[in-house]
């Protein structure tokens, strides 16, 4: 393994070691998503026992978990160091930002595999639902994966200069974005100007792609690809600028 990959892998090693040594740390990849899944599916059953609706809810939740777990995978490596007051050791090392993010992506992928596996195992057990293999669903997961990375980097970009107060954003930002992404409902339900805002999120187009599998919506591939690239590149540039700003103003030292 080359030096850069080793440094990136260090984050995966740290995150997985911490996860494996404390069962409570597995809650966000097991109990939380599963209880949420069951609650939403039971609600869908109670309101409208239509298998197509239940399938859309499960697929939507699985898609959103990809965003959630990816952004958490990137952020958790920072937050553990922050809470342990050990960021100094991380920042004085030769680790580069892109290696840190790559390590977070490795962690996020593992977390996604766990959650998606559990989701479909549960859905199969309760409703006999199979893991969807349509290209639209897989493509949608890929674009949500990219969006999750963008959100993870955006979170870090906000945390670097603002420190501990901004850490709560890691949990809040996805909750805000979920409203605009049309995870569980058609985007057309959103009133203006929220509907127009939703068009700027790659996630809303990715969820349209998921809905397309049941004919409930039509996805705009061009917008989805273009917006995914803009969010990814934009959040990376913002992260670099934020890190530089934190170094320049001494905020990085204070956080560390």
């Amino acid at each position: 393994m080359n030096k850069s990959l080793t440094r990136a892998y260090s984050q995966f090693y740290k995150n997985t070691k911490l996860m494996s040594q404390n069962l409570f740390r597995l809650m966000d990849t097991t109990v939380w998503p599963l209880t949420l899944l069951l609650a939403f599916v039971f609600l869908a059953k109670a309101l409208n026992n239509d298998p197509a609706v239940i399938t859309l809810v499960v697929l939507g939740m699985a898609g959103w978990q990809v965003v959630q777990q990816m952004q958490m995978g990137i952020a958790v490596g920072y937050m553990d160091e922050f809470w342990s007051n050990s960021l100094t050791h991380l920042f004085v090392s030769p680790m580069r930002l892109r290696e840190f993010v790559l390590g977070g992506i490795m962690t996020g992928i593992l977390k996604c595999i766990i959650v998606i596996g559990l989701f479909f195992a549960t859905a199969h057990f309760f409703y006999g639902m199979a893991l969807p293999t349509q290209i639209e669903f897989i493509a949608a997961l890929f674009f949500l994966f990219i969006f999750g990375i963008s959100i993870g980097m955006l979170n870090l970009a906000i945390i670097f200069p603002h420190g501990e107060n901004a850490i709560f954003l890691v949990w809040t930002l996805p909750d805000i974005l979920v409203v605009f992404s049309g995870v569980y409902y058609p985007l057309e339900i959103l009133p203006e100007p929220l509907y127009s805002l939703a068009q700027l999120l790659p996630s809303s187009h990715a969820f349209n792609l998921i809905k397309e599998t049941s004919g409930a919506a039509k996805a705009d591939w061009v917008a989805m690809i273009a917006l995914s690239a803009i969010w990814l590149i934009g959040s990376w540039i913002l992260l670099q600028l934020s890190f530089h700003y934190a170094k320049k103003t001494g905020k990085l030292v204070r956080v560390a």
Partner: protein, 251 residues
């Protein structure tokens, strides 16, 4: 080539209450193998200077060179040459001493990790603690851990920010012996401390910093001359040169 060269370093921090001048025209050169003490009252600029040397902070003016390299633009290379021991940072929660050293050895992309971890554990007397959770170590052993972590990358320059702060006498003696041993092995060390006796015992040269300015830099004999106190110990010299108020009243 100097191990460390700081030339006309200036750093200002803008805050709501105004601008603080943390470093003001600081210049300093350290030769290979030297132990240099950086002494000053709280808020004098010691940690700011160390942060800039590590590449954690960008100067407003001036230049820093570590073995001829810039810590900001050549961070990856400088990070291999420099490491930091600080009593103020914590340890990542939940990992054993060995796992944490494994993590840091990956951060520094060390080739033969197992061998290097074994070496630094032996060097710092931590071998018996390798399976203990690092955050639960006693203060003395935590300091040893920070030194072990710093030694993993086999750095040529070690920055030690108050390495004996809060330690009992026995632990402090052991850490000082370890610092001396590292110096004898050819490491260059920049040490900040509030313990004058420690600085007197360990350092080849001492820089006194106050209000972000280096007000004196030299061997203890040179500082005595500068202070005009030929028989004074470092504490008296420090108080005289930094013009601590109660000393002026005493005099």
């Amino acid at each position: 080539m100097d191990a460390l060269s700081v030339a006309k370093a200036v750093k200002k921090f803008k805050e709501k209450s105004g601008t603080t001048l943390a470093l003001s025209d600081v210049s300093l050169k350290i030769s290979k193998g030297e132990i240099v003490g950086l002494l000053g009252p709280n808020g004098a600029g010691k940690t700011t200077l160390i942060s800039a040397i590590c590449g954690l902070l960008e100067l407003d003016e001036g230049e820093i060179s570590v073995f001829g390299k810039n810590p900001l633009t050549q961070k990856e290379s400088v990070s291999q040459d420099v490491n930091l021991v600080t009593g103020f940072a914590g340890l990542l929660h939940g990992l054993s001493v060995e796992n944490l050293l494994e993590y840091y050895s990956m951060l520094y992309a060390i080739d033969d990790r197992k061998k290097m971890i074994g070496t630094v554990l032996a060097q710092t007397g931590l071998a018996e603690k390798r399976n203990q959770t690092a955050q639960n170590l006693s203060s003395g052993f935590k300091q040893r851990f920070y030194i072990a972590k710093a030694l993993l990358s086999n750095p040529k320059l070690i920055l030690m920010d108050e390495p004996t702060v809060g330690l009992d006498i026995q632990s402090a003696i052991q850490i000082r012996a370890l610092i001396k041993k590292l110096s004898n092995e050819g490491k260059t060390i920049l040490l900040t401390t509030h313990y004058m006796a420690e600085a007197e015992q360990l350092c080849d040269r001492i820089a006194l910093i106050r209000g972000g300015k280096i007000i004196a830099f030299g061997k203890i004999s040179e500082l005595r001359k500068l202070a005009g106190k030929p028989k004074a110990n470092l504490e008296e010299i420090f108080l005289h040169l930094t013009k601590e108020k109660w000393v002026e009243e005493d005099e």
